[in-house]
Symmetry: C2
Subunit: 263 residues, 2 copies
Amino acid sequence: MISIATWNINSVRLRADQVERFLTQEAPDVLCLQEIKTAESLFPHDVFERLGYTHRAVHGQKGYHGVATVSRIPFREIGRHDWQDNGEARHVGVELIGPGQGLILENVYIPAGGDIPDRTVNAKFGQKLDFLERMTRWADKLDKPTLIVGDFNIAPLESDVYDHKALLKVVSHTPLEVETLQRFADAHGWVDLGRKHIPAPERNYSWWSYRSYWRQKDQGRRLDHMWASPDVAAQSLSHRFVEETRRWDQPSDHVPLVTELSL
Amino acid sequence: MISIATWNINSVRLRADQVERFLTQEAPDVLCLQEIKTAESLFPHDVFERLGYTHRAVHGQKGYHGVATVSRIPFREIGRHDWQDNGEARHVGVELIGPGQGLILENVYIPAGGDIPDRTVNAKFGQKLDFLERMTRWADKLDKPTLIVGDFNIAPLESDVYDHKALLKVVSHTPLEVETLQRFADAHGWVDLGRKHIPAPERNYSWWSYRSYWRQKDQGRRLDHMWASPDVAAQSLSHRFVEETRRWDQPSDHVPLVTELSL
DNA sequence: GCCCAAGAGG
DNA sequence: CCTCTTGGGC
């Protein structure tokens, strides 16, 4: 059995102590981080090394984006896609060696998409859709047991947001985004582990805005996901959201997700 | 007997808790702050109010400089000099009412003066000397019992720095600054309480640079001062530097000075 | 709101 | 090294 976690940490340097606390408490075998917001040279390798996460694939970028996969079990890095060829660090892929042998683990940070859900006036929204379309063409060719995790920046189901109707016009929950994400899902037959283990319409959020006081009112959205190839999904034992991190000092706006696979 | 303190706090909002700790521990009747680095509207009035410092004269400025005098005993504000008429908040004066009746308390933050001690290539150095010259003309006319305190940004004596010879060419200890400060002293006959109570060449520092690791090597300078009119100096009972604050978390680069007067 | 980067000022 | 501002991003 191996356990895998994903967490948009919103600056790994600022929250190195929180990552340490999480790893100490939950002890996942692998942790996928997004928005590390640092160049690889300033990544806090020592923290992970000390805790036994001696295998690391860090695709960093100064100030923005950036993803990292750290692991107690060996892996080999299989690539860093830059689907839009714009230099943004939004993906790193690894293949597990030893325990979980052969599992492909794709760590991705999909663009947020700006404020206005209209690609003619908001280039960032167009970039988000284009990113998903390029990922879809890529996923169509995947033929190995794969788990893709990360911050997708889309809450696809009605029960993935605190107010479905109100958010239909808000970037992250628009029909256009949801349809585009669905085409990505269909391209590989991805199984949404979050909803496999916590079926809709059960409350199931991973993100709360820093703006306003929504935190207190529980106005969250499920933007972070773990999706598995059908064969991998069949081996998934559990899935949970570690909401406790929201109560820590100066938390990330995202909480971690953890899943267990019988590999 | 009244006690008066001065402290360059280097952001009163960031260190409101440290100011509270200092006031709780030392309980001076009056505290003069420099480099509060905030507009008056964002000054943490509540902290002082709660501790009984209900009389406050805050001469704030957004982001830079700024001075404030807070007191448990009543005073009336007598003015805010802008000697160079450049809008910088570097002075506030008050006159005590009740205990210490009639004492004038001038709180001042003299410009640092930049890096190069040459007014032809460094306008900031010229501004510092000009500021002192304008203060000198002002001091020449003072005729009331006065205590002037604050960050003078000059260490006048050899024993006011960790290495006199090395610092002769460093802004804060150059002969030109020391002579200019001496003319200010002579203009009113100010008595340096720091050296009245802790005579040279005893070690007597109020500031340690954040840059480099001088803190550990005790490479300090005496940049903060409390100077009294001769009549007030005759009533000065004690004077000390509260170096303990340097060991607090994220300390200011300056430590507080406290003096007691038999008024 | 919170995070990053630059640049100024100390 | 530390703090502030502005401006971008989410």
